[in-house]
């Protein structure tokens, strides 16, 4: 049950893989003085400045209700900021979806269509984009292979465990071969063992492709294990209180989890998070 490397000549890889116009390190998403206040008066985000660059794995870490999810919804174009400006690849949201500028999101819940089989669920983004069926089916097969669920293509979501449903959700995100992947506490509802496993698989997967990830979690361990950079947010209204680069090479394995360096990063972030929760 590991994420397998996607064959590079696959249809999915070809589909969206236009000449990469975002060089490594170029800003993929930029937030300038972004604020969000809900109509109810809840102030979710204080002015936030944040730049996420190509090939980064950035984790947004913060106490519950600090506006992490709100931030991700803004990044996904699902909500508009009350003030400030967001840029995707240096442009407005309308350019998202162009070749080399694909965006995908994994939600807290698997968010699958209960009436559709696993394969149809994974195919959804391609169906909505009106990708021809044979090409779409090849991409779906490759994506399911990637998350180790190929034998379950004909199953219904309710026939799968929570962890497997989440894998389907990840396969659905990868089927479009995204350039920017937003993940909102994707493994929060899973048990610790499954979560560690999926984290390891995700890290391995990220290592094999030109993918930028913005990942939301409240788990320090998850943040340290996965990220190239951790952004610590304060309690509501959320603002950036610290950024910590995790300068640990990939691939990361269980050995890293048990290392002194891992513990040191966790301690540092733990301290930052504690002070963030107070302010």
């Amino acid at each position: 049950m590991r994420f397998n490397r996607m064959p590079m000549d696959s249809e999915a890889a070809r589909l969206a893989r236009a000449p990469a116009q975002h060089a490594e390190g170029a800003p993929v998403i930029e937030l300038a003085a972004v604020e969000k206040t809900y109509p109810s008066g809840t102030r979710a985000l204080a002015p936030i400045d944040l730049v996420i660059r190509g090939r980064e794995f950035v984790t947004l870490l913060g106490p519950s209700g600090c506006g992490k999810s709100t931030l991700l919804r803004l990044a996904a174009g699902l909500d508009a900021p009350s003030a400030g400006r967001l840029r995707w690849w240096g442009q407005g949201f309308e350019t998202v979806g162009r070749p080399g500028q694909h965006l995908a999101m994994v939600f807290q819940q698997a968010t699958l269509m209960p009436w559709a089989r696993v394969a149809a669920n994974v195919r959804l983004p391609l169906d909505l984009a009106r990708v021809a069926r044979p090409a779409a089916d090849r991409a779906v097969a490759a994506a399911l292979e990637l998350v180790g669920l190929a034998p379950f293509a004909a199953s219904y979501p309710r026939e799968l465990s929570g962890g497997m449903q989440m894998r389907v959700s990840i396969a659905r995100a990868f089927v479009t071969d995204p350039d920017l992947l937003l993940m909102d506490e994707p493994f929060g509802a899973l048990d610790e063992i499954t979560r560690a496993k999926l984290d390891a698989d995700l890290a391995a997967l990220w290592g094999t492709r030109a993918l930028t990830v913005a990942f939301v979690t409240h788990s320090i361990y998850e943040a340290v294990f996965l990220s190239t950079r951790v952004v610590v947010l304060s309690a509501r209204p959320g603002r950036v209180v610290a950024e910590v680069a995790i300068g640990e090479p990939f691939p990361r394995t269980d050995a890293f989890r048990l290392s002194q360096r891992f513990a040191a990063f966790c301690a540092e972030l733990g301290g930052l998070l504690a002070s963030a929760a107070e302010t």
Partner: protein, 264 residues
């Protein structure tokens, strides 16, 4: 699978049958023992005999009632679904029209039926219209509810992938509504039958277009109580058959994915 499930299915199917047979036997025994006259309470056997003896008459009436019920049900389903689709197009539209659907629902059919019968010359059409009025509301309200009962996460997903209005309707709203729709069908099928019967009581049709309700009325006047019971049995059986057909249809459509159709 075993004893557990076979015992469960025994309880589900055999138990009600045993109760039914026992009640009929008791009924038969009491009527015979106390020598109750047929024109007050006929025995189950007498009812069965009448059913066979009067089949030419009752069968024809059953066909009439059944035809009106099925037409009314079909019209209610098609029309109700269309109205629901119109409702979900905008909150504004729903807010302005829904009260009138409720109005239709809360007005007793017995009160409207005489008007409809006056306005519509063909009695059979008039009765069918009455039945549609009764049967359409569950379809409208359930389907509207279902079309709106979309998982917000999935709605976000569709929005993020820039799904068109039509794609969202066909791929998200309609499947989400299906369990609600089939729930509506179940209620509506029974109501269509009730609508036809009640309207016929009010209209009092006769001649060749006489339905089962007319047979009941007539049998009542003539104190032909066994025939009254026989007609009643036919109406009940029709209702049960409609209900079972709807259950079967829902299972066929939702079978593998929806909770309501599992673990049965």
């Amino acid at each position: 699978m075993a004893p557990e499930s076979s015992r469960a299915s025994l309880a589900r199917y055999a138990a009600p049958v045993i109760i039914g047979v026992a009640v009929l036997a008791l009924w038969q025994a009491l009527v015979v023992a106390y020598d109750v006259p047929k024109y007050i309470v006929p025995s189950p056997l007498a009812v069965a005999q009448t059913l066979v003896a009067d089949w030419a008459l009752l069968g024809r009436s059953l066909a009439v009632t059944l035809r009106m019920t099925l037409i009314a049900f079909a019209v209610a389903v098609v029309l109700g679904t269309l109205i629901a689709f119109v409702f979900v197009q905008s909150r504004w539209l729903e807010a302005s029209l829904f009260p009138y659907a409720v109005l239709l629902q809360v007005t007793p059919i017995v009160a409207i039926a005489p008007l409809v019968i006056i306005w519509v010359e063909n009695v059979e059409v008039a009765l069918t219209i009455c039945a549609v009025i009764v049967a359409i509301f569950p379809i409208i309200s359930n389907t509207t509810l279902g079309l709106r009962a979309v998982d917000p996460g999935l709605a976000d997903l569709f929005r993020m992938h820039r799904a068109s209005r039509l794609q969202t309707l066909v791929r998200l709203r309609v499947p989400s509504a299906a369990p609600y729709f089939f729930g509506g069908l179940r209620i509506s099928s029974g109501l269509a039958l009730i609508g036809v019967v009640v309207a016929e009581f009010v209209a009092g049709t006769g001649g060749h277009a006489a339905g089962l309700a007319y047979q009941i009325l007539l049998a009542g006047f003539q104190l032909n109580i066994p025939r009254l019971f026989a007609a009643l049995v036919l109406i009940t059986l029709t209702g049960v058959a409609l209900f079972l057909a709807m259950v079967w249809l829902a299972r066929l459509a939702l079978g593998r994915w929806h909770e309501s159709e599992l673990t049965r």
